[in-house]
């Protein structure tokens, strides 16, 4: 602190000069600064939110006749988001004649992720090996082309599952983000968000043990 040390000279007779400390009381300034810092710390948005990109298939216009794409039943995996973060899944196609029971699982690391990993093993390993090679320097690649290289790997893959993601009406937005996130964690090449049909709705309600709300459309009844 800027304090001038004054030497005391005791000389008789002379009037003592009044000692004045040049120290300034800084407490109010510190108080104010504390306040301002607190204010700025609280109003600063530190972590900028991130975005997750998704693309949905183009909608089919009402007067357009489009054949649904043919996909291999053996590779199809249906995932249905239920209420209370429940996840149901079944492989293949729902057939009213031979109903497959729904498997119930959850969002833990051993839940739906394991199911997806088991089916996507080949592709997942390929992507991980590729990433490993890039990190260790075996493959030289520009930083910004890594993502497109991985996309190419996914595109060329024909072993992984085709995941159809559906939502029961009481599912939450969180499930929507979580399941799409799960797709990118596991490296699923093809996934589609579609609507739940009446049969699947019934399957979910049966699994939940609540009364069925969906009836078969007229064309499906025989």
């Amino acid at each position: 602190m800027a304090e001038i040390i004054q030497q005391d000279k005791h000389q008789g007779g002379k009037k003592k000069p009044k000692k004045h400390s040049t120290a300034i009381d800084m407490t109010p300034m510190v108080d104010l600064m504390c306040l301002l810092i607190t204010f700025f710390m609280l109003t600063t948005a530190f972590a900028k939110p991130k975005v997750m990109e998704i693309a949905l298939p183009e909608k089919i216009k009402k007067n357009e006749k489009v054949e649904p794409p043919k996909i291999a039943e053996s590779r199809t995996l249906n995932i249905i988001m239920g209420p209370n973060d429940k996840v149901f899944w079944y492989p293949g196609k729902a057939d009213p004649a031979a109903l497959v029971p729904l498997q119930e699982t959850n969002f833990s690391a051993t839940g739906i992720r394991q199911v997806l990993l088991d089916r996507n093993r080949a592709l997942f390993k390929k992507i991980e090996a590729f990433k490993g090679d890039v990190v260790s320097g075996k493959i030289e690649i520009k930083q910004d082309s890594l993502q497109s290289a991985i996309r190419q790997l996914k595109k060329n893959d024909d072993t992984g599952p085709i995941v159809l993601i559906k939502f029961y009406k009481t599912a939450k937005y969180k499930n929507f983000v979580d399941i799409i996130d799960e797709m990118s964690i596991v490296g699923i090449a093809i996934y589609i968000v579609t609507d739940l049909d009446w049969l699947e709705q019934n399957m979910v309600e049966r699994a939940l043990g609540i009364p069925l709300t969906a009836a078969a459309p007229a064309t499906a009844k025989k």
Binding site: M1, K50, E53, Q114, E128, Y173, V177, I185
Partner: protein
């Protein structure tokens, strides 16, 4: 015996280093501060592993709050030369037969906050005091009978075709509402959009895949 005089001295702490540090911190925070954009409703976004940062211009954001209210905002960054916002509001006004005054348009341009206001209340909303604005935030109607969100999206894209669509939803929004918003976006030929999330790290190793 004379009493020993105890010198009365206030204990003095040298505050200089503290002040130094404080001024440093204060300068740092003041310079890095980007104010948190004010929000009419608190939204708790879900987490994902995506590390892509949110763009801060050329965006239109659709916010879905916990109580299924829908908010909309257009942010074109600092380039106010193009005056996107007043143009969008003017188009909206034409569609619903409401004439906005230049003052109202200018006010709308300057205050880039998400709004969830029925277009019929918009004039009142713009002239209302800051503290009374909340009562107009009933959410933008998205029903098929009165689908104002669709028109906001339509005009935003007409005025600024390069705008990206962002969706910011709360964890607990029910899927049918999300589905409705997605349908509206798709009806307006927006098939590619970004979901705003917070960051979460997940490690999956090859061993998990073996088993």
């Amino acid at each position: 015996m004379p009493k020993i005089k105890i010198q009365h001295k206030t204990p003095h702490v040298d505050m200089t280093p503290m002040v130094d540090l404080f001024s440093l911190l204060l300068t740092f925070f003041m310079l890095t501060a980007t104010m948190k954009p004010s929000e009419p409703a608190p939204v708790d976004t879900p987490a994902s592993i995506s590390e892509k940062p949110t763009p801060d211009k050329n965006i239109m954001t659709i916010t879905i709050a916990k109580d299924n209210r829908v908010f909309f905002n257009v942010d074109n960054g600092p380039d106010t030369i193009l005056h996107f916002r007043p143009k969008i509001l003017e188009e909206m006004g034409k569609r619903y037969n409401i004439v906005f005054t230049p003052q109202e348009l200018r006010y709308f341009e300057k205050n880039s906050v998400p709004f969830g206001v029925n277009i019929k209340d918009f004039k009142a909303y713009l002239s209302a005091k800051e503290s009374e604005k909340a009562k107009f935030e009933k959410g933008i109607p998205i029903d098929s009978t009165d689908n104002q969100l669709a028109f906001w999206i339509l005009f935003s894209r007409q005025v600024n075709p390069t705008a990206q669509s962002l969706i910011k939803g709360d964890n607990d929004v029910e899927y049918p509402t999300v589905k409705k918003v997605l349908d509206i976006l798709q009806d307006k030929n927006v098939n590619r959009f970004s979901l705003i999330t917070s960051l979460e790290k997940v490690e999956v190793v090859v061993q998990d895949a073996k088993k």
